[in-house]
């Protein structure tokens, strides 16, 4: 049995401690917003927050996050999250959308730490999140837009 604190709830799950957090989130808890893209921490589609830090859930063992707060796209909230999602809507960032949960989670983590990121800061924080539709132009613009929204 593994204890998991996720999206504000305590869950006790009958899974092996070395199961990747991603598959616990998706297959055990039925939270499908967090996506599978590579399984090797190379694409960022599976990004969640662990104690507020953007983390790739596909290589994170569920047993290792006991005692930490896991937040998925379904429950991400607060000023930065609201600003990011509003900016994403406004600029119509998405295309296929599959990577965007991860992009949003990484962007929220960035803006929570650094409310006025430079282009370089954005590159550093977001280059772990692959978008095969290459919506990068709009991701960059939307992060700047979200920073403005947070100031307002």
């Amino acid at each position: 049995m593994v204890k998991l604190q996720i999206n504000g709830e305590e869950r006790e799950l009958d899974v092996a401690a070395d199961t990747p957090l991603l598959w616990v989130i998706r297959d055990e808890l039925g939270l499908t917003g967090t996506k599978f893209g590579c399984g090797m921490s190379l694409c960022g589609a599976c990004t969640v927050h662990i104690d507020g830090v953007a983390t790739r859930s596909c290589v994170t063992q569920v047993g290792d996050v006991e005692g930490s707060a896991v937040t998925t796209i379904e429950a991400v909230s607060g000023k930065a999250a609201q600003a990011v999602q509003t900016a994403w809507d406004k600029l119509d960032v998405v295309q296929c959308g599959y990577c965007q949960s991860g992009q949003v989670m990484s962007a929220v983590a960035l803006l929570s730490e650094n409310p006025k990121p430079s282009d370089q800061d954005i590159d550093d924080a977001m280059s772990g999140n692959v978008c095969r539709c290459a919506t990068y132009v709009r991701i960059r613009a939307a992060i700047h837009e979200a920073a403005k929204l947070m100031e307002a």
Binding site: A16, T19, P20, W23, R26, D27, E28, G30, T32, G33, T34, K35, F36, G37, C38, G39, M40, L42, C43, A45, T72, I73, E74, V84, Q85, W88, D89, D92, V93, V94, Q95, C96, G97, Y98, C99, Q100, S101, V104, I122, D123, M126, S127, G128, N129, V130, C131, R132, C133, A134, T135, Y136, V137, R138, I139, R140
Partner: protein, 744 residues
Amino acid sequence: MLAKYFDSENSRDLQSAAIATTVAPAPTRRQFLVASAAAGAGLVIGFKFTGGNKMAAAAQADGFAPNAFVRVAPDSTVTVMIKHIEFGQGTFTGLSALVAEELDADWGQMHPEHAPADASLYNNLAFGQMQGTGGSSSIANSYQQLRQAGAAARALLVQAAAETWGVPAEGITVKKGVVAHTGSGKSATFGELADKAATLPVPAEVTLKDPKDFTIIGTVVPRPDSPAKARGQAMYTIDKTLPGMLTAVIARPPVFGATLVTFDATAAKAVKGVTDVVEVPEGVAVLGHGFWAAKSGRDALEIQWDESTGETRGSDQMMAEYKKLADKPGDVARQDGDAEAALAGAAKVLEADYEFPFLAHAPMEPLDCVVQLGDDTCDIWAGSQIQTIDQAAAAAILGLEPQQVRIHTQLAGGSFGRRATPQADMVSAAVSVAQAIDGRAPVRLLWTREDDIQGGYYRPMYFHRLRAGLDADGKLVAWQHRIVGQSIMRGTSFADFMIKNGIDQTSVEGANTLPYQIDNVTVDLHTTDVQVPVLWWRSVGSTHTAYSTEVFIDELAEAAGKDPVEFRLEMLANHPRHAGVLKLAAEKAGWGEALPKGRARGIAVHESFNTFVAEVAEISVAGDGTIKVEKVVCAVDCGVAVTPDQVKAQMEGGIGYGLGAVLHDAITLKDGRVEQANFDTYVPLRINEMPEVEVYVVPSSEAPTGVGEPGVPPIGPAVANAVYKATGQRIRALPFALHGLSAA
């Protein structure tokens, strides 16, 4: 990827051949839009209602449904049945806009939804009687059809209002979803009129708007799928769950064409959660409760393969063989004048070889498919790109009629061509797994990223040899283009229609359609015999032909002592739309203006799928030789831009997708084994490499053409030409990474 190769005549043949015995449900009363696709750019669509007494009643739901595409609910929601899969390219937005325009709906009330698989209603008019998405054809083939569907719904709402209010229909206006009569001051929503509209006969004819009266087409409308996708709420195939569903992964042969000898499932079955290990035509499937169990089970599987039947060559060896073939003439794809004689008489002759690797599509959502078998039914949830073929393939495996196979098309996390195989590989594999467990439980088949990268269906590897001659005045007088590579279509059910006189059109398009005015042109082709499964990849033949032709033209311009833009324009007098985008991109990019040290520009122009795109790439070269594509200026002529912001988005995305491939990507084989496996070795473009992009859309009243693919072809040659300008190095073998050119 398909549309341009079909005309109405052969697509009917294709239907009967490709899916013989399997498709052809009788046309229903609802099939009132009759299309005849003309060869070439435009579609001529007749609009014919069957049965003048047809009532606009909805089949089941409340509200009304005047045709197969539009439903108006009592709450005024307008559901648009979208016949083309949404995988990012914006069909939900574009097709909804066509309906909303003629319906005079409010954008906020539009609700796109994937149509079911039913080729009698939802066929791609450019494919004949086949439902499917490809060839950047969604908007082009729907432009008249969905406007007419919207106009018919509007006419019924107006008639319903006229009868309800006892006023003449002529005095009624519709604006942003409100039907109003100024004289009487009456107004109503669509929902309020829906019941009455459902009792009225569908009009025999409708008049479409004059484009000058458009209020939605040509404007920026928000994507209806944006909010859900930014909040993790959009549902894809991988997210589908059914009671009792098992997850499956398949162990496939280590080399293409190898066969299964035997397997030992003992260790796999010992993995907690694994339920079944079964043989399927694709390999050995491991099923279990959840992905992790299935995947762990597969890791524990012991399999013996017979590789003697497989493809054991390396890609280097194949390329060497291709190169040798290029010494001999191939099957002629185009012949104007006498290129050989003109070369012999030319003042200057240039020759260059170009090499293109296999490429994987690598959509973000790895391939996946959910199947549930019933007694005489099969339900499929998938990002189905050619529903009619997927439906036929599933039916053939199960011994069902195609109508017994229901496909629930899901949003897909990208495709770039991968989800459209003539072999229906994705759906067939999942159906086979479900069948192997006798339909005991619904099955969700997943591909891992490694399965995706190593699983074939690549853009083929190609070798090109170009020779051209200039006369003493620097005029291009001879052009010889030889292409060597695999045929995408050979061996598939499409072969009879897409291979003519030995020429697979997908191998030579963009080369045999070279637009430049040259008196002597030969384009020929050697089709090679290789067991690696190959497939169209976003912009298909133009992925390689645009590169070799546009880089070679740049070499020739230099040899002729002319500016690359001027050199091209002199030869484009008969191709005003090529010339138009070329001039526009050059002007907006400040072509010819001085740049800071270490910066250079390159340009390329290419037409694909009847859309014309020119791109100017501006690059920088750092002290350590690292190159960065700083900015791309793009001009696109796609006829009427239905949703201009989505045109822009597709150009941005096409540029990024194409750039990633030319900078980094190659699928290589060693002893038949694919050397790449995941995003560490098959390197995707990341945000730090994405250039700034400016897109200019040429104002046009021509019929709209597609934008999903045409942004891709020019970026490679534009960047290569800029790299030459900056470094003196001509990149003739892709990717750039082979040449020690790293990108920042």
